[in-house]
């Protein structure tokens, strides 16, 4: 059964339709990559899943139940963890406290257990040496890493990652992919919006390409990347 399913989901702001009848489903344990040019409506899609934005039409189903009416905090507690494209840390709190917060409220753990989760995530994501640093004073790349770490600390079943590889060196990107593979192996389902295509290709089970708020193409990653329309839309390079 699909862990998450969007059914003909639409969203408009005034005359501007940003999501136009998108359907997608993700199976438990799968990694779905989302591609599309800037302004295609990828982040809006995440907002619709996480509840930061509500749908105008269609249905968002998680674990078989419609979650249209649920607030973001409720969706998080159900197991939808997300990162933001523009990092949104709790700036005055330390990195460790950011993670403890996520574990306390996202995973609804008692504080002592939340410490354990936070400690574990710090080890996993390589943020341990920044543990006591105020999150607001970290570099952009580390703040992006914190986005991933904090989403993990909510102990999600579904992880929504919004452009976390941008700006990484090749080596760092590879490390990130290895980390995501480990996360995937623990049974967490992942949807990943990413412009760093080679990183995405090395882990995604399927790709979903969006343009103008509509689905352009869905399928096995390499065949999607060979799709002439996708290449044209994405990079403007003729295949």
């Amino acid at each position: 059964m699909a862990l998450l399913a969007l059914k003909q989901v639409s969203k408009s702001y005034g005359a501007l339709t940003v999501t136009d009848g998108v359907s997608l489903s993700v199976a438990e344990g799968e990694v779905l990559g989302i591609l599309g040019p800037n302004g295609a409506g990828k982040t809006t899609l995440f907002n619709l899943i996480s509840g930061d934005t509500t749908v105008d039409a269609g249905e968002v189903e998680f674990n078989g139940a419609c979650i249209n009416a649920l607030a973001p905090y409720q969706r998080c507690r159900l197991g939808i963890g997300r990162s933001y494209q523009v990092p949104q840390p709790f700036g005055a709190m330390s990195v460790f406290e950011n993670l403890v917060t996520a574990a306390c409220f996202g995973a609804q753990l008692p504080e002592k257990d939340a410490w354990a989760v936070a400690w574990d995530v710090l080890q996993q994501t390589g943020l341990a040496r920044f543990a006591n640093q105020p999150a607001g004073s970290m570099t952009l790349l580390n703040r992006k890493r914190l986005e991933l770490a904090r989403a993990l600390a909510t102990r999600p079943r579904l992880l929504l990652l919004d452009e976390i590889a941008g700006g990484l060196t090749e080596h760092e990107a590879q490390e990130l992919v290895e980390e995501l593979k480990r996360i995937k192996n623990t049974g967490i389902t992942i949807i990943w919006i990413e412009h760093v295509v080679h990183a995405l290709l090395s882990i995604a089970d399927r790709l979903h390409v969006i343009n103008f708020g509509k689905t352009l193409c869905v399928g096995e990653p390499h065949s999607v990347m060979q799709d002439a329309e996708v290449r044209r839309v994405y990079m403007g390079l003729e295949a």
Binding site: G14, A15, M138, T139, E170, M235, G236, L237
Partner: protein, 231 residues
């Protein structure tokens, strides 16, 4: 050189976004600035316009330093920007938006009539609220607004963003008309093919540094791919 940037660094708060960027633009030249998301393209344009002051380095316009100049004065010196996401004023009509360009106080070939000649559809819709237009038409307003300030250098940030291919062609078809007056263009474009077509020189940014630079015709796809994605 019309514009020269040397070893420019810039920060958002504590986070460094540019690590010593060098770039120059000659009068009448069209330069394309490409690179992946987060590479620092928009940040670089912001430092040129004075919205985000450069931390270190030097930016000169016709030999005069502008890296400490207020954004409101830089446009008066002749550097105008068509910002990413168009940033039209929602409470202003199409024509009022265009009028905002004249606040630069610069005289030149561009006026309301000529902008309407370039984009006739705008004349038809001139009294409508600017944000009620379609995406492509809004982009025309944004470009027209930049032109109304009669700049010597026009910075275009992602003007094809979110537009249908046919609309993009329509907008890019207008570029030669701008060059006729000797205006220089710096175009940020994620559509590499398009960027190469319209520009004479390409500069690629990666992680806040220039990773590739050269004449548009002479660069191979492999070079670009590697400078763009790091693969």
């Amino acid at each position: 050189m019309l514009l020269q940037a040397q070893s420019v660094t810039a920060f958002y708060g504590d986070a460094q976004a540019l690590f010593g960027v060098d770039m120059h633009i000659a009068p009448g030249e069209v330069v394309a600035l490409i690179g992946a998301n987060g590479a620092g393209k928009s940040t670089f344009l912001k430092t040129l316009t004075g919205l985000l002051p450069a931390k270190q380095g030097e930016i000169t316009l016709d030999g005069a330093r502008i890296d400490r100049t207020d954004a409101a004065d830089i446009v008066k010196l002749g550097v105008a920007m068509v910002p990413e996401g168009r940033r039209l004023f929602p409470s202003l009509s199409v024509e009022e938006n265009l009028h905002m360009g004249t606040l630069s106080g610069r005289s030149g070939a561009w006026n309301l009539a000529r902008v309407y000649q370039l984009f006739p559809i705008l004349k038809e819709k001139r009294h409508q609220p600017a944000t009620s237009l379609s995406g492509g038409q809004q982009q025309m307003v944004a470009i027209g607004r930049g032109l109304m300030s009669n700049p010597r250098l026009l910075l275009c940030d992602e003007i094809s963003l979110g537009l249908a291919p046919i609309v993009i062609r329509e907008i890019y078809a207008a570029l030669p008309a701008l060059l006729a007056d000797g205006m220089s263009l710096l175009i940020v474009e994620q559509d590499v093919q398009l960027a190469m077509q319209v520009s004479s020189r390409v500069v690629c940014l990666q992680e806040g540094r220039v990773s590739l630079e050269g004449p548009s015709g002479a660069l191979t796809r492999e070079q670009i791919s590697s400078a763009y994605f790091g693969i």
